[in-house]
């Protein structure tokens, strides 16, 4: 290891120490290199004799009596594990999902699909009617009015289906979040 590599490694290992402390420490170790070089040693030898920078940093930290909270956090800290759900929670979640949520989901899905499809059908009907009577002369006015009426209905239907889809999606999301929360936190 060269002097620079050693100092870089040491800096990294000192982690959360204050800027001034790190500066002081690095200056001491840098001086050690300077004296060693003037005594005829190579950077490599000096670094070797200084010992592992990680161990040196650990010694410094130990000497500092830093509050634990300020020390550099280790990477593999364990996350607190969520408690296992109780059997009552499992029963509740499974039962409500199987007997309430899933039937409700498909019923509502059917309703929403009906609304959306009817809306499309009405709109297409309106356009078709309009196009048809436009082409064939005699009942032009009647056909025109009928077509326009259907198109107006389609616009209304469009608003209806927009809200139906929106609240259907929101409701589904809310339910999933609710079950997840209940599962992890209990009833």
């Amino acid at each position: 290891m060269t002097k620079k590599e050693y100092l870089d490694k040491l800096t990294k290992e000192l982690g959360s120490m204050s800027y001034n402390d790190v500066k002081d420490i690095l200056s001491d170790i840098e001086d050690h290199f300077t004296v060693g070089i003037s005594a005829g040693k190579t950077e490599e030898d000096i670094a070797n004799d200084l010992g592992d920078p990680k161990a040196l940093a650990a010694d410094y930290k130990e000497g500092m009596d830093l509050p634990k909270i300020l020390e550099k956090k280790t990477v593999n800290e364990k996350k607190p594990k969520a408690p296992e759900p109780t059997s009552a929670t499992v029963c509740f979640c499974v039962l409500i999902t199987v007997f309430v949520a899933i039937p409700a989901f498909f019923s509502l899905l059917a309703v929403v699909l009906t609304i959306v499809l009817s809306e499309i059908a009405v709109a297409l009907g309106g356009i078709a009617l309009l196009a048809f009577f436009w082409t064939f002369g005699p009942f032009k006015a009647t056909g025109l009015l009928g077509g326009l009426a259907l198109i107006a209905l389609a616009v209304f239907g469009y608003a209806l289906s927009y809200f139906a889809v929106k609240y259907f999606v929101l409701g589904t999301k809310w339910y999933i979040a609710f079950i997840r929360k209940t599962w992890h936190e209990g009833l």
Partner: protein, 105 residues
């Protein structure tokens, strides 16, 4: 050598080295690692701790070659601490030796 053994007595050794006269980090490290099997780096955290506890003081002194060096000086407080620790160490090692020799008989 067992690390647990070393930890407790290195402070004592460093204080003793400085009692003989002021010295700079490299020199203390050299003296210590020449006698005990420790890495040169070991003395720096010790010196820093001793300085923050007021047992040693530091000053900069010009050197013939290179930048000024940081010298360490044993304070009165440090000298007192050294005496106390040394006595404690003597009593302790004597007791340990007696126990170990008793085991050999």
């Amino acid at each position: 050598m067992n690390n647990q053994f070393k930890k407790g007595v290195l402070d004592l050794c460093v204080l003793t080295i400085l009692k003989k006269g002021d010295s700079y980090g490299y020199d203390v490290a050299d003296t210590l690692s020449g006698k005990i099997q420790v890495s040169d780096g070991t003395v720096y955290p010790i010196l820093r701790k001793l300085a923050s506890d007021g047992l040693v003081s530091t000053y900069l002194k010009e050197s013939q070659n290179g930048p000024p060096r940081k010298y360490y000086h044993l304070t009165d407080e440090g000298a007192k601490k050294l005496e106390a620790d040394k006595q404690e160490w003597d009593v302790f090692t004597k007791a340990v030796r007696e126990i170990l020799e008793d085991e050999d008989k």
